[in-house]
């Protein structure tokens, strides 16, 4: 290139034509990106403010401590949140151990063979199966074949299966991120493979596992579709467990659907365990005292008030696993589908509670993940 050429083309460091436009496009894309992000985040804000606007004023102690009712003024979510806790406890009891053990197996133990690939394919596919299909599984298998009924147990297991892939994948990732040296060090001092996993790998993987469990459980709390199939009831005015102070009834002998004794003249010897009242078949009342035995005719009802120890006893899983139930999302769905504005306020209030729980849990999970990334430096 001769000096003349350079002179003809002028200053070669000058901007080529069109650069200003290209730079402008580049800068304006940032605006588009931010707008798109704001639409996403704005949805969250709109969602929360809509719920607060519609239902915020319904949040009160009464709302949490009342049963659903056809009168919207006194209706609440007591049976729904108690039901949610019981169902989720069942879900956790199945999903956490199975999911964590499965995750450990796939990362630490699984040989490279067709069985392992089959399991991996199964886990990957399960993660993409629509939740309502799990409802079909529950109806067709748990209710119809295993005869578990439309119960808390059925609901808990179904949701456990639904979140299993979440727990498995999170466990795998957490276990995989623990460096090989940790295992080698443990094995070198004579630990068995399981000891190395249990005492050394798992503790380091724990924050990741917990994150996955929280996200899975939070998903189970908000899940509605599969529980509709199981027949989660929309109107449950009882609790599967007893509270201290609840009235307790015990009917003596077998009675028909109208409460009349099947064998009217038979009596039964009964040991009374609480002070209370016995209502006879002719509706006369007789006060009774704890520790005494009475011969009571069939059809009589022993009425008493549950004490704390009765209540605690009723919390044992075998007492509520078979019970019918409702959960918060189903209660909210029921109220949403009613035309009256008052019920929609209740739906919004229930939605706020649900949203608060799920966002709080996910927020915790995100925070845990963030802290995890910051703290551990291998």
């Amino acid at each position: 290139m001769s000096a003349v050429d350079v002179a003809e083309r002028g200053d070669i460091t000058a901007h080529p034509p069109g650069l200003a436009t290209r730079r402008f496009k580049d800068a304006s894309f940032i605006v588009w990106g931010i707008v798109a992000t704001i639409i996403g985040l704005g949805t969250l804000v709109a969602l929360v403010s809509e719920l607060v606007h519609d239902g915020g004023h319904r949040l009160s102690m009464t709302f949490f401590m009342s049963f659903p009712s056809s009168d919207p003024e006194i209706a609440g979510i007591l049976s729904a949140w108690v039901g949610s806790i019981l169902v989720i406890a069942t879900t956790a009891a199945f999903a956490i151990p199975i999911g964590v053990l499965a995750g450990i197996y796939l990362e630490e133990y699984a040989p490279k063979n067709w069985m392992t690939s089959a399991i991996e394919i199964a886990v990957n596919n399960l993660a993409g199966v629509p939740s309502i299909i799990f409802g079909l599984l529950a109806v067709g298998l748990f209710v119809q074949v295993f005869d578990l009924g439309q119960s808390i147990l059925t609901a808990g297991i179904t949701l456990a299966l639904l979140i299993l892939p979440v727990v498995i994948v999170a466990t795998r990732e957490a276990v995989r991120s623990v460096p090989l040296e940790i295992r080698q060090a443990a094995l070198a001092v004579g630990a068995t493979k399981w000891q190395a996993t249990q005492h050394h790998v798992l503790p380091y993987a724990m924050p990741g596992v917990v994150t996955g469990v929280i996200i899975g459980i939070s998903r189970a709390i908000g899940e509605t579709a599969p529980l509709i199939l199981i027949g989660g009831l929309t109107f449950v005015a009882f609790l599967p467990i007893t509270r201290p102070g609840d009235a307790a009834f015990e009917v003596i002998g077998a009675v028909d659907e109208y409460g009349a004794p099947v064998t009217p003249d038979a009596t039964e010897r009964v040991l009374i365990d609480h002070d209370g009242v016995v209502v006879m078949p002719d509706f006369s009342e007789m006060p009774v005292q704890a520790g005494q035995t009475y011969d009571l005719p069939h059809g009589a009802t022993v009425q008493s008030v549950a004490t704390w120890s009765d209540a605690v006893q009723s919390w044992a899983p075998q007492n509520w696993l078979g019970s019918e139930f409702t959960v918060m999302p189903i209660q909210m769905f029921n109220w949403t589908s009613r035309p009256e504005a008052e019920f929609r306020e209740l739906a919004a209030a229930a939605g706020l509670v649900l949203l608060a729980i799920t966002l709080l849990m996910n927020g915790t999970a995100i925070w845990l993940r963030y802290r995890l990334r910051k703290q551990i430096r291998w």
């Binding site: 580049d26 996403g40 969250l44 151990p97 599984l137 929609r344 739906a347 939605g351 649900l354």
Partner: protein
Amino acid sequence: MEMLLFLAAAAAIAIVVGILYVVLSEAVVKFFGQVSFLEFITGTTWTPTFDNPQYGIAPLLTGTFMSTLVALSVAVPLGLLVAVYLSEFASTRMRETIKPTLELLAAVPTVVYGYFALLFVTPLLQQALRPLGIELPGFNLLSAGLVMGLMIIPYIASLSEDAMRAVPNAMRDGSSAMGATRLETAFRVVFPAAVSGIVGAVILGMSRAVGETMIVVVAGGQQPVIVTSPTQQGATVTAFIAQVALGDIPYGTLEYSSIFAAGLALLLLTLVFNFIAFALQRRFREAY
């Protein structure tokens, strides 16, 4: 111990087998024992609860496709804009804040979204469309689809962003060295290189939309009709299943079997989508 671990992992296979067993035994053996497969896929009326039941799945499929189409037309542009912005333009700090916050959108219970679609988005759309001469019914697939789209933004944005960030920096540097702007680099170099991962993300979002139940049950309507416009009400495959379940489930009847037949159609749709998405994402992972 190893045996126990293996059994836990094998539970995943048992669940898949269980799902296939239940759906196939009810749908194939009982349902298609009484309803011809031809009627199922070619019929245009779906009225299993009527006295003269007809079992053409087409109305449910059009409902599902319409709501999914609306959802994708919201989620794909927004999700990809967010993904490109986060991956190529935003600072690390910005990305680390926005990404998890956006992921909260996917954590909101779907019944809450249903409420939002029915009582916030629908009235808003009704007002917006009235000047245009469109009377939007109280139940419609448009608002259900829109809200569904907002819900799947994080799936598409997050996975696409992962795919784009997996593109090696050397390719960006090469592009910059040739004088390209960030935008040009993003769309002419990074995007094409990550395209299989991005398509995978979109298909995964699509699969979510197809399987979504509560939003369409609450806001989309429940009458199975052939849907030709998003402003119509219409039942999706999932909405039909939920609707039957909301009544007393008539165990052992053909109506009961019909929810499993609908479930089979849904399962096949999502499995095909998931398979394609999985294959695509694997390809992009192997590329570098």
